[in-house]
Symmetry: C2
Subunit: 148 residues, 2 copies
């Protein structure tokens, strides 16, 4: 029997956190947020759509660069307020900085160590899409104070 | 060279999303939130501490039941506003419902299919800790409308 449950967009003011995992490697790639429209677009196209908090618009990841995320499986958590997307990451790099995963820094006592490897398939093409993804990733709020 | 970066707690009003992944299986277990105090406690004890949004207090996961999460690795994402914890999940079940992962429901066209397996090591003991974890997981906001 299938459960008829609607994801709960209310806990974060209309946004549903989406954890993105590479279905081939199991690596956690990124965290993004979906509004209801992004959720519906993801289901209908089977390519990941998010809501860009910096731009306040729908963000079809990789739309211009071609580095889309093909959604193979979607899971919902116990309290229906977070989804897990298992995706095929076209181009091999989910992160705008060219790493497979946005989580490329590991905590060590003395600071954060970059452990991610740059993907050979990432060309750093500065398309409009890359520009916007950089904005979404770096974020207007991630100012220099956090990187001191 | 290590990077001196402080996680950014400001984007979600003092809360930092923490994705939790089983270091042995690669399974994504849950999403939780940390305030600065929970972050500091996680670093000092190497057991996962979160901020309970329903209780508005620090939540040392598994403190009473013994089903703690031993934090083996921590990663920070590109814009420093999300962390990934790779943990050893004591007891085998991260979810209060007895599943290894809170993401035990997979999307299918007709509805959500339960695909997670109940863990033999989960006894469903109704300790005070389990009670609170159930509250955190089910959440006061996850009312019947979302489960129609």
């Amino acid at each position: 029997m299938k459960q008829k449950i609607t994801p709960n967009f209310d806990k974060l003011g209309g946004l549903l956190p989406a954890i993105v995992q590479d279905i081939a490697t199991g690596a956690v790639l990124m965290l993004a947020f979906m509004n209801k429209e992004a959720w519906d677009l993801t289901l209908s196209t089977r390519e990941a759509h998010y809501f860009s908090r910096s731009r306040q618009t729908i963000w079809h990841k990789g739309a211009t660069s071609g580095h889309v995320q093909r959604v193979k499986e979607i899971f919902l958590d116990c309290d229906a307020d977070t989804v897990l997307l298992r995706v095929e990451q076209v181009g091999g790099a989910a992160c705008h900085e060219g790493y497979a995963s946005c989580f490329f820094r590991r905590f060590e006592e003395e600071g954060w160590q970059v452990v991610g490897r740059l993907q050979a398939t990432f060309h750093g093409v500065d398309t409009e899409d890359d520009f916007w993804e950089r904005l979404d990733c770096a974020g207007s709020e991630a100012d220099e104070e956090t990187r001191s």
